[in-house]
């Protein structure tokens, strides 16, 4: 410390300013480095999708160009229409939509009903039954695959919408989420409604579900995502009969038939990806909420 600086005077302004400038420069450098790293990571992560979009708009021969073109100079929009038609994507997208929506609606309803029962009603073995519902989450799909296939076939639902949707009409995860949401409703509300003469059914649909709406939305987004992206079951349960393919299997088929036309295959992939990207951007909050329900205990 400068011995001449009086103990009652603050540090002279010049030193102050110099220190401030130096500190600010250091901070700015750190910040820039931070942003640079983040941007680099973002580019790496977005890169595959970006290249897919670019390549999907290239002419057939262009894809093989070296270095690979980073921007389509003559976008071949017709690749998309080719993918659409020869990939039967309209049919497959419709199939995916039907199956996914069915699954989402069914999962929401069964989860609300069961979640309500576990949260508000008393009955013997309630806790056991709840654990049983949770236990289904432990059973991996490969174990049930074979039998489910048999069951669906013997019910006559092989290669049908019913067969595609029916194993997934309920989910332990949804029951867990809804029960938690219902438990969070203050007891006072329930008692007030009881005094007002609300029976369980009315209470469920007029009070409990509206209050649990954010959770229902989160579950819907999650279920839709899972259902839309399914691969193994639709593959196995349609047994190679194309009209019922969902868009994921349809992609596989497209790739097979368009062996040389990578740009068309990519166009198909982009088409399949777009609904989900919209989902992410619009429903990001709900998605994050559902995915982290188990993490933050």
């Amino acid at each position: 410390m400068d011995a001449e600086t009086s103990l009652t005077d603050p540090t002279p302004d010049a030193t102050l300013a110099r220190n401030a400038r130096r500190a600010r420069r250091r901070r700015r450098a750190r910040l820039t480095a931070n942003y640079a790293a983040l941007t680099a990571a973002a580019i790496v992560i977005l890169f595959p999708v970006y290249m897919a979009v670019v390549n999907s708009l290239l002419k057939e021969g262009q894809i093989a160009e070296q270095p690979p073109p980073l921007f389509p100079n003559h976008p071949q929009w017709h690749n998309y229409s080719t993918a659409w038609t020869s990939g039967h994507l309209s049919t497959y997208l419709a199939n995916s939509a039907v199956v996914s929506i069915t699954i989402v609606v069914a999962q929401i309803i069964t989860s609300i009903l069961a979640g309500y029962a576990f949260a508000f009603l008393r009955f013997p073995f309630r806790r056991t039954l709840f654990l049983v519902c949770l236990a289904t989450l432990m059973i991996p799909f490969e174990v049930t695959l074979i039998t489910n296939l048999n069951t669906v076939t013997s019910l006559g639902w092989f290669n049908s919408y019913a067969g595609l949707a029916v194993p997934f009409l309920a989910t332990g995860f949804g029951i867990f989420l809804l029960r938690q949401a219902f438990l969070a409703i203050p007891k006072d509300l329930e008692e007030a409604a009881r005094l007002d003469g609300y029976g369980h059914w009315r209470f469920m649909w007029r009070v409990a579900v509206p209050l649990a709406r954010p959770v229902v939305a989160a579950l819907a987004v999650f279920s839709f995502l899972a259902a839309w992206n399914q691969y193994l079951w639709p593959l196995v349960a349609t047994g190679g009969n194309t009209p019922l393919y969902t868009v994921q299997i349809g992609l596989k088929e497209l790739v097979g038939t368009q062996a040389d036309q990578l740009n068309v295959s990519l166009a198909g992939a982009v088409i399949a990806f777009v609904p989900l990207l919209i989902l992410l951007i619009v429903f990001q909050k709900q998605l994050v909420r559902s995915l982290t329900a188990g993490a933050v205990k």
């Binding site: 290249m51 897919a52 576990f118 074979i146 990578l262 994050v288 995915l291 993490a295």
Partner: protein, 309 residues
């Protein structure tokens, strides 16, 4: 009157019937879900054990033969099974630690209260919506020996990447890491939110550098989340099927054996060899493996995990 009547018999009866009605309603509401679970989760699970005890006929249509545990021994010691088991383990060991580490690093970097980070957060979590098929097609193109990125980067393997016996599995691993990164990021970000800001501030005042803060405060407080992410990641890695199905469809057989993870093995055994019995045995093995790993992680990590909120 020396005794107090608690409630007249009529009221008692109505209370009993009210409870009974409540119970009936409860069962009724739970029934739809339980019915689905019974038919499509529990019944198959149990029946799977039964199927595993029967040897499937070489030609479909013939009855299967009860062989009991002999089939277990036979399948589990086969080189086919053991190789695919090894492949699976290697695959999981590649995918899970790397995705978690990257997810954690990105989550920490994107968590600050700086401008514009929301876009980065959306980008980092975006891969969570990618489907298996989309990822496969996209990466398949990137890794294509002729048209992909690799020639430009100067990487050229013979045989080409996805047909290469050494490099096919890592290639699929890279794709799976990319896909899982979104979820890993989301989970880690959520966990970071629950690390109290004031504790970190206290550590700043107490003299901890950023490095120390990360290792001595953030990570210990994040351990439940890390544990959860490991469990989720492991289960996810075990279920990797579609990418292999589509991509190895891109190329020829030699690589398939080297990417023959258990689940893929199970499905091909079932569908192409029509060997339900062997497939059932392998699926039980996979289930046990997953369960064991989850239990081990729970036991091992719970000792280190410091709850204490």
């Amino acid at each position: 009157m020396t005794t107090v009547e608690l409630s007249p018999p009529r009221l008692l009866h109505s209370r009993r019937s009210r409870l009974r009605r409540e119970a009936l309603l409860g069962y009724g509401l739970v029934l739809p879900a339980l019915a689905v679970f019974a038919v499509f989760s529990f019944y198959p699970f149990i029946r799977n054990f039964k199927v595993a005890l029967y040897q499937s006929p070489p030609v479909p249509g013939l009855p299967s033969r009860y062989v009991g545990l002999h089939q277990f021994g036979h399948v589990l010691s086969s080189s086919n099974f053991l190789e695919s088991l090894l492949t699976t383990v290697i695959f999981v060991a590649l995918v899970v630690p790397i995705s978690l580490l990257l997810g954690l690093v990105l989550a920490v970097a994107a968590q600050r209260k700086l401008a514009g980070l929301r876009i980065y957060r959306t980008i980092f979590s975006s891969t969570v919506v990618s489907s298996v098929a989309v990822a496969a097609v996209v990466f398949g193109t990137l890794m294509n020996p002729i048209v992909g990125l690799l020639p430009w980067l100067g990487i050229s393997t013979q045989p080409p990447l996805l047909e290469n016996t050494t490099w096919a599995l890592p290639a699929i691993a890279v794709m799976s890491i990319w896909q899982f990164l979104g979820l890993s990021f989301i989970i880690m970000s959520a966990g970071l939110q629950s690390v109290p800001e004031e504790v970190l501030e206290a550590s700043r005042i107490d003299g901890a550098t950023a490095w120390t803060r990360f290792w001595r405060v953030t990570i210990p407080l994040l351990s439940p989340t890390i544990f959860f992410a490991i469990v989720v990641g492991t289960i996810y890695a075990f279920q990797t099927f579609g990418q292999i199905d589509i991509l190895i469809g891109f190329s020829n057989d030699p690589a398939r054996l080297h990417t023959n993870v258990l689940i893929y093995n199970i499905v091909t055994t079932l569908q192409q060899e029509n060997n339900a019995g062997a497939a059932a045995v392998m699926s039980i093995a996979l289930f046990v493996l997953t369960l064991l790993l989850t239990l081990v992680q729970m036991r091992f990590l719970e000792k280190r995990v410091s709850y204490g909120r």
